[in-house]
Structure formats: C-alpha cells, structure tokens
Amino acid sequence: MSKTPLDTVEHAAATPDVELPWAELGLKKDEYERVVEILGRRPTGAELAMYSVMWSEHCSYKSSKVHLRQFGEKAPQSDALLVGIGENAGVVDVGQGYAVTFKVESHNHPSYVEPYQGAATGVGGIVRDIIAMGARPVAVVDPLRFGAADHPDTKRVLPGVVAGIGGYGNCLGLPNIGGEVVFDACYQGNPLVNAGAIGVMRHEDIHLAKASGAGNKVILYGARTGGDGIGGASILASETFDDAKPSKRPAVQVGDPFQEKLLIECTLEAFAEKLVVGIQDLGAAGLSCATSELASNGSGGMRVTLDDVPLRDSTLSPEEILMSESQERMCAVVEPDKVDRFLAICEKWDVIATVIGEVTDGDRLEIFWHGGKIVDVDPRTVAHDGPVYERPYARPDWQDALQADDANKLPRPGTSEELREQVLKLVSSPNQASKSWITSQYDHFVQGNTVLAQPEDSGMIRVDEESGLGVAIATDGNGRYAKLDPYTGAQLALAEAYRNVATTGAKPLAVSDCLNFGSPEDPAVMWQFAEAVRGLADACQQLGTPVTGGNVSLYNQTGEAAIHPTPVVAVLGVIDDVARRTPVAFQEEGQLLYLLGDTREEFGGSAWSQVIHDHLGGLPPQVDLERERLLGEILISASRDGMIDSAHDLSDGGLIQAVVESALLGGKGARLVVPDGLDAFTFLLSESAGRAIVAVPRSEEVRFNDMCGARGLPATRIGVVDGDAVEVQGEFALSLDELRTAHEGTIPALLA
C-alpha cells in the first residue's frame, strides 16, 4: 500500500500548502477558509472530515437555523417543558413524576434508494435519540408520503418502507401507534419517510449529552464500526491519503434491530444503576458528531484514541472511522470507578463496549491515531459554530395564480345520485381508503400498554398501571394545503394534530415537527420554508404548545421539481386516566350525532378537489386557533365527564369520511340530516377546520348541549347512530357492506 505520512496536526502545520479535497466533501470555499481561520493552519484530513460532516446541511441546519430560532423566541410559557430544543429530544412533564420525551425525524433519501433498510435505520435512529435522553422507548409513529398510488415504483418503495419500519420496530418491541400514509405524484422521486418515537422516564432519570468531569471515561458501545454510510470520507481517504482504498463506500446502511434491542436494555440498566454522566447516540456524522457534541456541551475537553474503536473492517482510515454512520452505536461518559460495572452490564447483554477516551481539563477535542495527534480542535467550532446562511427567499410568482384558481368554483355534483357516487369514490381513493393493509404489518400490542392505536385519532399509551396515567400522540401534515399557503398549511398541520389528540380525550402539551421541503437554494422553496416555520411558531405560541425539537429535511427535489412543502407536526398529549379515552368507533345504536364547529364552503386543497377533479388551487381552509382550543377543551371535558362515547375529528374528506370511518369501525350505521343553512355537498365534503363529530348517549344530551352552549361552541345535531348503512336523508344511502368493500379494498388491490 502506498503510504503517505500520517496527516497529524504537526504534519498539517508543517505542510500548509497541501490541497485538501474540501469541495468533494461538500464544503464551500469560504467554509473551508473559515476552518483554516479557526484552526490557524490547514486542517488535517481527519479534522476536515469532521468539519465537513458536522457543517453539512443535515447536521448544522445552516439554511434553516435563522428561521428555526422562532420556535425558541416565540415559545409559549409552559410549565410542562423540562428540556427544550437543542438536546437529542425534548422532554415534557406529564405529571405524577413522569416525563415523556418524543421526536420525529426523516429518513427520506435512503428510503428511496433501499426502501427496507432506509426506513428500518430511520426507526433505529430516532429510537436511539429517545434512549439517549434516559427514557425507555414506548411507541413509534411513522408519517409517510409516497408517489402516486398506481405508479409502478410505488409498488417497490411502499412495501419495502413498510416492511422496513415494521421489521425494525416490531423486532425492538415498540408498538406502532400512529402515522400517516399519503400518496401524491409530487413525492414520486422523493418519498418522505418520517419516523417518530416516544419514551417515558421518571424526572430524575433525564440524561443529557454532555461530557464533564476530568478523568471520566468515554465508552463507545454497541455495533462495531464499519465502512457504511461514509459519504465524503472515502473521497478524502482515496484521493488524498491512500489510493489503494475502495473509492466508493455505500451510503445505505443495513440495520440490526436485534443489536439495538440489546442496546436499549443495557443502556436502561446502566441508567438505573446511575452509572452514566452523559450520553449521546451515534447517528448522522457518527463519532465526529458524538465526540464533538459531548465535548462541547460539557465543561472540559476530551481525548480519544481512535485505535481503540472496535472495527468491522480493519482497512478503515481514521477519517472513515470518524465519519462512519454504522448503526446501533452509543457513546457514554462514565466515572472511572463505575467503568467496570458499566462494562459488566454490556457484557451481560452481549454488547461490545470499549473505553476510547476520557474527559480532560482543557477545552480541546484531541483525537489520536497510531500515536499521532490527528485532531486538535475546539469542539464548539465543530458542533455549534457551523456556517449560518441567510438564504434569499421570495414568494414565487406562481403563488397568486395558484390561489386564484379557486376550488370552490369547480363543478359540483348535480344530483343525489352523483353525490353518492362521488362519496363512494372519495372513501375508496388511495388517500382516504383504509390503511390497514399497511398498519397490520406493525405490532400494536407489544409492551401491553396500548390503549389506542391506528386508525384511532391519536395513539395512546398507558404510562402508569396504577393510576391509569397515559400519553397520546398524533402526527399530521397536508402538503396540498401547505402548497396553497405554507403559513396557513403549517398551522393547519398543528391544528389537526392538536385536534386529534384532544378528540381522544388527552390534553395537548407539546410539539415536535419534521419539516420536509425542496432545495433551500431555490428562493421559492426557501420562502415556503420560512412561511411554514413562521406559521408553526405563531400557532404554537397561541395554542400554548411549545416546540420541543424536530428535524429539517431539505433537498427533497427531483430536478427542478420540489415536493409540496410538507411540514409534519406531532402533538403530544396527556390523559389522567386512560379509562376515559374516547374511541372513533360508534358504540351504541340510538346515540345522537353532533357536529361541533362551523362548516364553511372550503374546498381548496380538499380531497374532493383532488379525487374528483385532480385539482389543486385556491386557498386552504381558514385557521381559527382559539376555536381549536375551545373545541379541544370541550372534547376533553366531555370525555372526562362521560358525556360522549365516541368522537372523530374532521379533516381531509370532510364529514362524510369521518362518519364512514366511525361507522365501519363500530359496525354500526348512521342516519344523517343535512342541517339548516347548509347544502348537502358542503355539509358532507367541505374541509373546514376546527370540527369534530361526537356520539352522545341520549341521557347526556342536555348536559352536553348546556356545556357547548355555555362555552360558545356551535354544536349541531346531525343524526343518530343506527342501522347498517350510512344514510343522508333525502340524498342517498350506502350500506356498510358496500362502504367496507370500497374503503378496505383499495390499498390491497394496489399493493398486495
């Protein structure tokens, strides 16, 4: 092998003129110059590797940071927030001494290249964020977006993604309790695979990613480090350092959920014995990220001997070891006298664990290889002082025309017969059809605490067996709405997730998000992003639900064509006693159906406009956050006081979609009457926000009406649970059998 001398710090200082392939590593010229300026010399290859991955868009949020600040600046005062933005995941107080951590992340690109492994490792990554906070993971959710349902490539991507999410999550023993599946041609080359996880811990068990206490040991544990997921490092390694290297390392990793399950158990055991001072998972940017973040968040410096990292492939260069994204690894900081016990726990679980360094007095991160010092940096400059861009943004010139193309003016069904046909077509369209072919591939039952899972409005997990304390989570996003108006679209995503949580009887507490957009270098996309963030931050402030963390995924773009701006919002809620939860399914014949909220003519971005007219134009539904809050309070009170037996929020597909779902789930039909002042079409298909339907036992009707009246929430009696058909008086009837065939047959026919 041709050996150039090891590129140590000393060597770098002595050879200032050596050209490094910074451009191939994705750095801009001024970014590279910044590195040189910070170091006062050229970086070593290893340092360049670290800066380049940590300053990438993915790790540094360089395009999005200036906007994301609003989540902090506008954060509402919330007593519930224990740990906010900036840590691996936010932590929320849910009472009785329990804290909950949750977060959503994206794994979009890898899932397109290798659907199974891309999606699987997405679940693996988000779960490690949860463990790193000190929590036991208790559930996962998976908001997904695919290309057109009948496109041949969707048949490759979707089953692989679903099998991967299931394969990993099921094997970890995490119930999958919610998510979304949306089809739209805009996601054809850029499917969105977002994954969220929730964890539960006691307040005193919260852990943070920081290395403090000189002399404390840095322990790397979990899988061996291999040559996977190394983007630029191999360029560095092959072009500059060692030409004999294989020049292309795969950018997709294979996950090992079994290893991760062991990682969960041994980490929790180490937490329980109070052996851990600081902890960090290894995700994007691998050891570069873990070491620089741990060191920069702590009080001291850190010294690492890279030779001690257990390898799967002995030919890896130090740059590759630093950049490898091998899955299922964690890094812990442990006091010297507790190291033996920590290692023993790892051994009990057959997890490889190695001391690779220690916390030092200084403030430098120093990394050694074969006796030479190859990294000597201020870790803050790597982890936190990345470039920040004020990318230009501008409202695209097509936005006005798009909004002017009013969906309310589209031709409407002329006869009852036509209305009936359109309703049937709607409930069987891929986006509105039952997703049970997908969700039945996920374990909902494992851990024995699942109170609600999909297709309920929110997933709900029991936290305490004695008291019945529980948490709920829902994720929502509507790229069509956001395309029409990103500010409102982001608010609608929050409003819907908030409503979904409240509909099950839980009180919304906090928010996480995953912001999926096209290229930030396109001013139109950047405008969409800026508007969406502003909208979400404003809405969170008004609803009193702080953003606790999240993820940004940019460059979801094929050529010039960006995806619809797709902010996905997760809302976490708490319920004092899960026995009071409200399900979607109709429970008893004779119960009265009430529509809560106001219905306007709002068809912009609607499912109806898409399914019947293949149209996207006009304005999305209006947002009224005070109304959402009031609706939420009514739903929560009604559930707590036993006034309603089922409830379902209204969103895409409008009222009829909700009624059909409640009817099919409960196996009981409904007779509906079009209320005064509304035409049947608007009543059934408009997508006005801030609405829900509830089923009220007759004995509770007066009390329920009084409550709504006193609090000023419009509540309209629209029918009764009855029979084995959904009947709209004076219009049409659809038997449950016909509805079931239509609603449940679509997805299997397309994908099975």
Binding site: A163, K261, Y442, V446, Q447, G448, A752
Partner: protein
C-alpha cells in the same frame, strides 16, 4: 400458597414483561429467568415468551434453543413440568423438538398483527383447563414466521391424538397447515401457540378483551391443586 411461574428472558424477548404481568393478574407469582442461567429457581412452570430472540436470525427460535436455560427447560419438560411457548416461545419449542413440526415465514410474506379468532380444540392441557372444548375466543396475533408445517403423518397423528389445541377461525393468518394455531405434546404439559394470550388480559388494553386470562388461571389452579 401460590404458584411460581418462570418467564424466560432471551436476548430479544419482547413480551416477557407483559407475560409477567398476566401471571400476576391471574394471581400467581411471576419469576424472571435469564437465558444464561441453567437454574430455574424452583419454579412450578415456565413460559417462553414472544419476541424476536436473537433477531429471529437464522430461523425463529433456532439460536435461543441452544441457551443454557433451555437445557434445563428441556429436561424438566420431559419430566412433566408445564411449559408454555407463546409465538417466539412456540418457535423455540419446535426448534428444540419438544413439539413436532416447524415454523416458517407467513405465506403472504408480511408481518401480520390482528385480533385473531380461535377455537379451543383441547381443554385438557395444563394451560387450557379453564376453557371449554369448542369455545371460540379472540386473541391478538402478531408474527412474521407463524406458518406451522409438519409432514402429513405428523399432522394426522396430532389430530388423532387430540393434540391440536387451537385452530384459526375465519381467517388463516399465515398459511398454517390445517389452520393449526397451537399444539401440545403427548403428555399435555407442553403447549405452544402463535397468538398472544398475555396481550388479552386487561379490558382497556390492546383489543380490550380478556380472552387470554384463562391460560394463566388454568395453570395456577392446576399447580395450586396439585
């Protein structure tokens, strides 16, 4: 005096904690057993819980079957100790040849999670005495490798000897031969099934049914009355 029922944790076991809870709900005392220990801590019966032990790599149950704890479980099972294998536990029991036949990937190639209807065919085993023969129950099912196969001779023999304990009703969720969901050994002390009775023990949780509780009350009564 109550009965002590062991629940083995293998690396990758997932339902060990809920199985312990189900045992507790039935009134017995759950005892955690570890795959590396041969010692069964004087339990009266053992449950091998569901999960993906060793990731189900190689074949479901194939690696766990060689754990130290299984040496003792096999020995004790042969001398009559009640053993229940749920899902992955059932797979381990077939790999260990305590139960005949084998488990393969579902015929539709997907993981399947559903509320499954079953008929109790044999209410005389150590684990099913609190059911009635012919009773129809709903128990959650969730697996990737749930397709029970055996040669015709073995299947005929199982049928003839009444050793098919549960059969799938309405839907055969995985292509199991003769709709077999669970079987027992000749002595009736070892039972394996794919569905998860431990997930059907509390009214609020999961599917909201409690059709799985009789497993745990059956064994409790048998042990306490013994």
């Amino acid at each position: 005096m109550t009965a002590r029922i062991g629940v083995v944790t293998f690396p990758g076991s997932l339902d060990d904690r809920d199985t312990q809870r189900a045992i507790r709900l039935a009134g017995a005392e759950p005892v955690a057993l570890w795959h590396k220990d041969k010692d069964l801590k004087q339990v009266d019966a053992v449950v091998l819980p569901g999960g993906f032990s060793y990731g189900d790599y190689l074949r479901a149950g194939a690696i766990s079957r060689f754990s130290p704890v299984m040496e003792t479980v096999i020995e004790q099972a042969k001398s009559g100790m009640p053993v229940l294998g749920i899902c992955n536990g059932f797979q381990i029991l077939t790999e260990a040849h305590l139960l005949p036949g084998g488990m393969l990937g579902n015929d539709h190639l997907h993981f399947i999670c559903r509320d499954q209807k079953l008929r109790v065919e044999n209410a005389d085993t150590a684990w099913t005495a609190d059911y009635e023969a012919g009773q129809e129950i709903h128990i959650p099912l969730k697996n990737m490798d749930g397709r029970y196969v055996a040669d015709t001779y073995t299947l005929d023999r199982l049928e003839a000897e009444g050793r098919v304990v549960f059969r799938y009703l309405d839907v055969n969720p995985n292509g199991s031969l003769r709709d077999i969901a669970g079987i027992t050994n000749e002595a009736g002390n070892v039972v394996g099934l794919m569905p998860h009775p431990e997930h059907a023990t509390e009214p609020l949780i999961g599917t909201g049914r409690t059709d799985g509780l009789p497993f745990f009350t059956s064994i409790l009564k048998k042990l306490v009355n013994a």
